[in-house]
Amino acid sequence: MCATGKRVFLLFVLFSSVASAQDELDANDAPAIFQNREHFYNAISTGNLTVTWSATPKEIAADGELLLTLSVANAQNPQRIRKPNLRSIPAFAERFREIVDVPDEMPNAVANFRYRLRLRRSGEVEIPGLRFDYFHPNAPEGREVNTKYAAAISLNVREAVVPVPPVLPRPTAPERFLVWPGDISPRFQFGGLGAWLGALITITILTVGWVRIWRVRNPDGVRLANLRRNRAARLALDGLARAERIPEPAALVAKHLRDFLADRHDLHNPGTVPMDIERELRTATVPELKIANAVKLFRACDEARFGYCADDAHSLVLAARGIILNWEEPV
């Protein structure tokens, strides 16, 4: 009872699905029950259907393209025939490395399905035959589906043409190119870290050597250098050097000597008169002999400025320089 019920249900489902599929098809389509058959492409004919291959060109190079056309004539429904999918047919897939659908042509009652193909190999190649089933509406029941074949066609496939690059004319070489460049052996290149270090070390050694030699040749120079490290002495000596180049340097000599003494002994107001300077120096406990020498020079400067004086500019500068250079010496 139960098994019979299942059979009835399955029959119902089958008929209802066929009926609904038939509803989607129109009058120019074959019955839905045949639509999913292999090699069936929805063609309807009363028996005189023809299916043919045509290829353009017939002779091609291995790397060339081929236009293949499947023509289906004498079908009642050429517009409703489905295009065969050659990519899914093994005989085509193994012969052609590229199968591209090209827009079809449907003139009058003939359906032309077009493909662009690229071959896998050269030599004798055959386009395989194609089985093409169609629906015969007037055939007795159970023999409605008939079969036609598109006959195989042969192609002559040449070897791929490898383009030979044109022979290029040799460029005219200038004279300099005909000359061997001379020395091509490796050369020492300056500029490495070693060269920089070497140069710096050499320069340092040269500088230190120069200073040492200078000190040997100028033993008094060390004392002079030490003295010049004192800012007051350096300024005074530079000022005296400038004073030497002017015609009446007495005022400038006195000024630089006074500035030096003020700086050296921290005299806040040394004054401009020799007596004032003498008093200030005594207050700073400077030895008497040094005070006497300095005051004597200030007086000589005053005499040179305001009265008759036999001392020339050069002697005043020299005397001032001597006082400054010997100021630090013990009495």
């Binding site: 460029p171 300099r176 190119f177 460049p181 091509i184 500029g191 200078w214 250098a225």
Partner: protein, 238 residues
């Protein structure tokens, strides 16, 4: 050959003999091997001339660029590169972005050699040392000017040296055959420009993908060329 032996190499190498006998392709092969063993500007120059005379224009360009990477200041290499570039059949496109002729080699590193800056630095260091010695011994004020001039000059020369030596220019890729510049990495992509890229053209490599090379033209246009149409392998990496 005797002249080469007397004034050139001392003992003429196989390459020099081949070159002197007019067997330029053979000389170029020998010089390629010599370049791998020891790269010098002289080898690069000889290599470029042998390739050029042997008809291998792209390799002549490659050899000159190899040499200029080693010695960008070398005037002989610069002159030869200019001559070799003139032999390349560069088109003159209307769009400046499609310009293929490379820029002239006139950057700082092409004008000043590292050892020039080295000697300049040594000269300024000597001036500074002289000023220092004078200042240390006799405390003359003008010595300070020498010290300052020498120190500034030394620092400038050292910076110049570092800039010249640092980050050499990347080597261009050189086409070995006339090639179409495409918009993508495949033959199905359309051409980027009407003109084909000539054999010996120099391009800047941007990327590689699937046997294709993304390149930039001197004019700025970017496109793709097949890897097989470009000389990359066989070059000594510097």
């Amino acid at each position: 050959m005797i002249l080469i032996a007397m004034f050139g190499l001392g003992s003429p190498s196989d390459a020099a003999i081949s070159f002197a006998d007019g067997r330029y392709a053979e000389a170029a092969r020998d010089l390629d091997a010599q370049w791998q063993r020891g790269a010098t500007p002289g080898v690069a120059l000889a290599r470029a001339r042998a390739h050029f005379l042997g008809g291998n224009l792209p390799m002549a360009v490659v050899a000159l660029h190899d040499g200029l990477r080693l010695a960008p200041y070398d005037l002989e290499l610069q002159t030869d590169l200019r001559i070799v570039r003139d032999a390349v059949n560069y088109p003159e496109p209307l769009d400046p972005r499609h310009r293929l002729r490379p820029n002239a080699t006139n950057t700082l590193r092409h004008r000043v050699a590292p050892f020039d800056t080295f000697f300049l630095a040594v000269g300024f260091a000597l001036v500074a040392a002289f000023g220092f010695a004078k200042w240390y011994t006799v405390r003359h004020r003008w010595a300070l000017l020498f010290i300052a001039t020498g120190a500034i000059g030394f620092a400038t020369a050292a910076i110049l040296f570092a800039r010249i030596r640092a980050s050499p220019e990347p080597l261009p890729v050189v086409l070995v055959a006339d090639t179409i510049l495409r918009e993508g990495n495949g033959h199905t992509y359309p051409a980027r420009m009407a003109e084909t890229l000539p054999r010996g053209a120099e391009l800047r490599e941007l990327a590689r993908r699937g046997g294709w090379l993304q390149v930039e033209l001197p004019g700025g246009t970017v496109g793709w060329v097949p890897l097989i149409s470009v000389n990359i392998d066989g070059r000594k990496s510097m």
